[in-house]
């Protein structure tokens, strides 16, 4: 296991700004996006690269527009992963340390497809998360919440022949970060996904429905379009819940890559 101890995740003096200041920045950004849509500017599907409310991005975001390239042969494929790459228990984050981790046991299930709805078959899904108290195993996590000796928060699995993934874990807790004063991340699970082609590769975060921290979070709100944001929120699915064992969440993933840009219907066309 690799750990780093290169200091605090953000500058310690960053915590001088208030949530009200950050929320005002977020609201102003979203208002500008909505006005742009009215003027006919394109709908956005992803987060803004240049999004100052996420302070760590200030010196790290590229300032130029992305340059268009036609994918060449190697880019029309993804690396191949197999059963031999992962252990049989890696899709169960509750059994990795010999004892039962503390928290609300959940099952997360969903389907990975491309923009045409074709399943992403036999492909690697990696997940990582905080424990029920909102603490990561990572050394740089200084949040004074308990580490659970029975929970590492790391999982890996392959999708099946129809693109489905499934894993069992403990529901992660929200946690504080140093973006500004009294800043809290909504509870989330990090996902790393490969598609049918390398241009479909994404890393993202899955959230839980109804989280009161959504409106306050500069990372979730870096996605300007509300419909795009909603695509990161899992739904409670009683068919995934298991009798006297675990509650269930469903989260489907669409990896579009190079081939198609999806466009929302114009208002009034629906």
């Amino acid at each position: 296991m690799t750990v780093q101890d290169t200091g605090p995740a953000t500058a310690p003096d960053a915590a001088a700004e208030t949530q009200a200041q950050l929320s005002a920045e977020i609201e102003a950004g979203h208002a500008a996006y909505a006005a742009g849509l009215e003027r006919g500017e394109p709908q956005e599907h992803g987060p803004r690269k240049n999004w100052p409310p996420y302070r760590s991005s200030l010196l790290r975001h590229p300032t130029k527009d992305l340059r268009h390239a036609d994918p060449e042969t190697i880019e029309l494929y993804s690396p191949v992963f197999g059963e031999r790459d992962i252990g049989p228990l890696e899709a169960d984050l509750t059994v990795q340390r010999g004892g039962e981790p503390i928290g609300e046991r959940i099952v997360v299930r969903g389907r990975v497809v491309d923009g045409e709805g074709r399943p992403v078959r036999r492909q690697l899904v990696e997940v990582w998360q905080a424990n029920a108290a909102g603490r990561y195993v990572h050394k740089r996590d200084q949040h004074p919440a308990p580490i659970d000796p029975n929970f590492t928060g790391i999982g890996r699995m392959l999708t099946d022949d129809d693109g489905w993934y499934r894993f069992q874990t403990i529901k992660p807790g929200p946690y504080p970060w140093k973006n500004h004063f009294n800043a809290w991340r909504p509870a989330h699970i990090h996902f790393s996904l490969f598609g049918r082609e390398i241009t479909q590769r994404i890393v993202t975060q899955m959230y839980f429905p109804g989280d009161p921290l959504f409106a306050l979070d500069p990372i979730y709100q870096s996605i300007q379009d509300p419909r795009a944001r909603e695509r990161l929120v899992a739904t409670y699915d009683h068919d995934v819940s298991e009798h006297e064992w675990a509650t269930g969440y469903r989260w489907d993933i669409v990896l579009t890559g190079a081939h198609r840009t999806w466009t929302e219907p114009e208002d009034g066309d629906e």
């Binding site: 010196l59 790290r60 300032t63 990582w128 928060g153 390398i198 890393v203 990372i219 840009t261 466009t263």
Partner: protein, 199 residues
Amino acid sequence: MSDVLPQPLPPTPGQTVGPFFGFALPYERGNELVEAGTPGAVRLHGTVRDGAGDPVPDAMLEIWQADPAGGVPARSGSLLRDGTFTGWGRAETDREGGYWFRTLTPGATEAGRAPFFHVTLFARGLQTRLFTRAYLPEGAGPATDPLLASLDARDRATLVTVREPDGSLRWDVRLQGEGETVFLTYDEGAGAGRDGVGA
């Protein structure tokens, strides 16, 4: 299951890899696509820097490449590292922003195209992953490749590795500012490449 999904489907947005991926994504020998002493092994290495020129100690790079004959690897084992050349590797940056891979030199996959490593870059503070390419410095490729030929000299230089005296390939990444690396989109849709569009 036989769900029939409506078409076309909206993409799932990316999000930052955050500060805490280091305990989860990097794995043992992830950056070693071939073992030490493998004939033809080459070291690809460099430093990732931010807009102030400071090293980025919490970034992660992945490479995906053809084999030396220009073939697309289709073998599993990237996480196992049992000696199979899979064409894919992952490296996190160290405290000085440095990374390295031990791999084979990629061949061209199409006639008239320059060989390159496809690179996916992640970091705390990057809202979503970035794609780019690291081309080999030799051959006619840099003059004839459609992407490289479309760039001015300064931008082109950001995508071409440098052959060091020891035979290794150096390729530095500048996220922002002077010498900012050219990052790519493969999206052909309206507004593609603009901030947030098609990301």
